[in-house]
């Protein structure tokens, strides 16, 4: 039992630190990094808590989280890219 608690506490502390990084910034990329890290830590936490509760069949959830986290990060990247495209085009228009 106790080792689950230790790991959970470590994960929780790290989640807090990641949240602090997300609040602090300074750049948007730092925040995205923090969100990603927060997501993977949630996956770990869920896996550990599932064992702690003695219901390992709930690992499905952790899997779903991992997946969604990944897609979320890629969506953010696509967002950056589309913004860069916009900026480039605006710059071109200004040159013209």
């Amino acid at each position: 039992m106790s080792m689950y608690v230790i790991v959970s506490i470590a994960i929780l502390v790290t989640m807090t630190l990641a949240l602090a990084r997300a609040l602090k910034g300074p750049s948007v990329y730092d925040r995205v990094l923090a969100v990603n890290m927060f997501g993977t830590k949630t996956v770990l936490l869920l896996a550990v808590v599932a064992f702690f509760y003695g219901r390992p069949d709930f690992l499905d959830l952790a899997l779903a989280y991992a997946l969604i986290n990944f897609v979320g990060i890629l969506a953010v990247l696509e967002f950056f890219q589309s913004q860069r495209n916009d900026d480039e085009e605006q710059a071109k228009e200004q040159e013209e």
Partner: protein, 119 residues
């Protein structure tokens, strides 16, 4: 421990009102929708809090285990519905915001009001 039993409900009240504050005070329409999403999430927390039974586990019946008690399934069903309702509202609101941006060139409430006055 006595007071911790109410902690969830306090968090519910505070988060609810943080969201509500954003909805009524913030000028930006997307911010309003974010506030609305927080506002609705707080209600989910309230419902889910009441389903917990001490020492129970999620209401998925384990075969062969007889003395296990289970948490209340009903609030969970209700909140499943409410989550979907929430995301539907958000999506519709965002579609409106996109249209407003195209029609007015701004998503700030005071700009929109000013532009309507002019026309």
């Amino acid at each position: 421990m006595e007071l911790l039993g109410y902690y969830n409900y306090w968090v519910f009240a505070i988060v609810l009102m943080v969201g509500f504050y954003a909805v009524i005070v913030r000028n930006n329409l997307i911010k309003k929708l974010l506030g609305l999403a927080i506002f609705q999430s707080a209600v989910f927390l309230m419902y889910i809090t009441m389903d917990k039974v001490e020492g129970a586990t999620a209401p998925i019946i384990q075969e062969g285990v007889t003395d296990q008690i289970y948490s209340n399934p009903l609030p969970q069903v209700l909140i499943l519905t409410a989550i979907v309702v929430g995301v539907s509202t958000t999506a519709l609101g965002l579609a409106m915001v996109v249209r407003i941006k195209e029609a007015y060139g701004s998503i700030e409430e005071d700009d929109i009001i000013a532009k309507d006055r002019k026309s």
